[in-house]
């Protein structure tokens, strides 16, 4: 079974600062995908960034980047130059490479950007 753990239920950061959200996962799969989704107050799920497990290079998407440590099964999200619009719930998610394409979500980290 796959599990995703986010150990930080709440975090805050000053506007323009950098924050890192943690995520660990457990799987016996070798090929898989990892994602960070953002859920603002509107509650829509918005993809922030994704990482393929077979790629060693960490994914980046503008101000968002990940630190993917496959051996440690760790997948943290770094948000640089935090903006007020980054205030949201952030979910780490895992998807197996083979079979059903089911996403396994962590319990989420509520991030507040303080002006």
């Amino acid at each position: 079974a796959q599990t995703v753990t986010q150990s930080q239920p709440e975090m805050s950061v000053q506007e323009a600062e950098t924050v890192t959200l943690s995520c660990t996962y457990d799987t016996s799969e070798n090929n898989y995908y990892l994602f960070w989704y953002k859920q603002p107050p509107s509650r829509q799920m918005i993809l922030v960034i994704r990482q393929e497990a077979y790629k060693q290079q960490n994914a980046t998407e503008n101000r968002f980047s990940v630190n993917f440590q496959k051996a440690a099964k760790s997948f943290s999200l770094k948000i640089s130059d935090s903006q007020l619009g980054d205030t949201a719930m952030y979910f780490c998610a895992f998807m197996k490479h083979a079979g059903g394409n089911q996403f396994y979500f962590g319990t989420g980290t509520s991030l507040t950007v303080i002006p």
Binding site: R43, M45, Q102
Partner: protein, 113 residues
């Protein structure tokens, strides 16, 4: 930009009633999903659908739940006899060929009273 759309945005129903939640996935996508999120909790997988049949379902997806793709565009989730604990946000999602990310709709907030 193509998007997944869900209707209605909010549905209130009495306990024991049937409810149908509707979704229009992105047109060229092949995999369809329903997830739910009880308020304050994590997003939970309900069911995935591919090639006109269920490919995977969770323990939550019991006999009270069913899914259907009645035509080429809609994807529905039916709850036959709603319970109070079915109150949640229900998200539809779709993904394309291969193991790509899922695109989520804006959700339907179901309130069972």
């Amino acid at each position: 930009e193509p998007e997944v759309t869900q209707t209605p945005s909010h549905q209130v129903t009495q306990m024991g009633q049937e409810v149908i939640l509707r979704c229009v996935p992105i047109s060229n996508h092949l995999y369809f999903y329903w997830y739910r999120q009880i308020l304050g909790q994590k997003v939970e997988f309900l069911v995935s659908f591919y090639n006109n049949e269920i490919s995977e379902k969770s323990e939550i997806f019991d006999d009270q739940f069913s899914v259907e793709r009645p035509d080429g565009s809609n994807f529905t989730l039916k709850i036959r006899s709603t319970k109070l604990e079915d109150s949640a946000m229900y998200f539809c999602a779709s993904s394309g060929q291969g193991y790509t990310e899922a695109f989520f709709g804006q959700g339907t907030r179901l309130t069972v009273v």
